[in-house]
């Protein structure tokens, strides 16, 4: 058979597979999290960020961006939120936290671990979302009334997610994967 001249052959690299695997894990966490009833729109654990933190630490910022943006796109499609206001809030939050992570990853690793990155990224996340919400969805300063609530949520969920990411990273870098009673 003569090979078609118009055929496009895509050979996924190892990096592509890795991005797809991590994005899939992040999407699963996002969809699972969407089932949790939330007291306030916007206050959610953001468990997918655990995956982003792990990818950032192990494979670098570029891959973390891929995973994060694929996560936003696909989970919005799955949840029927694509191009809805929630999608843009999610996208802005993601972009803001990725930008901050790009700086936070260069903090000296001796003193600052995944918890620092997680908390800083969580604050960037709510910051970006609040600015979009203020400029577009709720054009009134009343949205800022909720800032303390969002800040507290970012602190606590940032801490928890960062701790889980730190633990996953520690276990991934352990020399031999012995059966630990987790």
């Amino acid at each position: 058979m003569t090979p078609s001249t118009t055929e496009i052959v895509l050979t996924p690299t190892a990096e592509d597979h890795r991005v797809a695997r991590h994005a899939a894990a992040a999407i699963v966490l996002t969809v699972a999290e969407a089932a949790i009833p939330l007291p306030l729109p916007g206050v959610k654990p953001g468990l997918a960020n655990i995956i982003i933190l792990v990818v950032l630490a192990r494979w670098g910022w570029r891959e973390a961006v891929w995973v994060a943006l694929l996560r936003v796109l696909v989970s919005s499609l799955l949840l029927g939120q694509f191009l809805a206001p929630g999608f843009f809030l999610s996208l802005t939050g993601s972009l803001a936290s990725l930008a901050v992570l790009g700086f936070a990853m260069h903090l000296p690793g001796r003193a600052f671990g995944p918890v620092s990155q997680s908390v800083l990224a969580a604050f960037a996340h709510i910051g970006g979302q609040l600015l979009v919400a203020r400029a577009w969805l709720v054009p009134h300063d009343g949205v800022f009334y909720l800032v303390p609530v969002f800040a507290l949520a970012a602190t606590s969920f940032g801490l928890v997610n960062g701790l889980i990411a730190a633990r996953l990273l520690q276990e991934a870098s352990a020399p031999a994967p012995q059966q630990a009673g987790v």
Binding site: L107, P108, R110, A111, F112, G113, P114, V115, S116, V119, L120, F123, F144, Y145, V147, P148, A151, L152, A154, T155, G158, L159, G162, L163, A166, R167, Q170
Partner: protein
């Protein structure tokens, strides 16, 4: 609650992932929470009470110390009571007593008007959320 040895160990295992910089960032984050709560949630606290009689300012008093003012009007004296952080019209000679029944005013922008006696009591603050007339 006294954490048992199992819980203590569990917490210690998680705390082992915290570096000193992380603690610093967490402290900063908590400070941001506290600061934003103070800055954004206390804007409605009143600073002073403005009492008017017959359209003119009768007195401006701060809300730090408790005191009672007698404000003269066409029907008689309206008694205004000030306490730390709040104020009310305690007694008024008007027929319907609307301003008395409003009770204590405690947020900036709140107003009690005793129209028949031409006396009003208003609380002012750095930032008023709303006024009593226009909810």
């Amino acid at each position: 609650m006294i954490p048992g040895p199992a819980l203590g160990g569990w917490l210690a295992a998680w705390a082992a992932h915290l570096k000193w910089g992380d603690v610093l960032v967490l402290a900063g984050a908590l400070a941001a929470c506290g600061f934003s709560a103070v800055a954004l949630w206390q804007g409605g606290r009143p600073d002073k009470a403005i009492i008017k009689a017959g359209g003119r300012v009768f007195a401006e008093v701060d809300l730090n110390t408790a005191r009672i003012l007698e404000v003269p009007g066409p029907l008689g004296a309206t008694r205004i009571e000030i306490q730390p952080g709040r104020a009310r019209v305690a007694a008024d000679p008007g027929p319907r007593q609307y301003c008395v029944r409003q009770g204590w005013l405690s947020s900036a922008g709140a107003v009690a008007i005793c129209a028949p006696n031409q006396v009003s009591l208003a609380l002012s603050g750095r930032r008023a959320d709303y006024d009593s007339i226009n909810y």
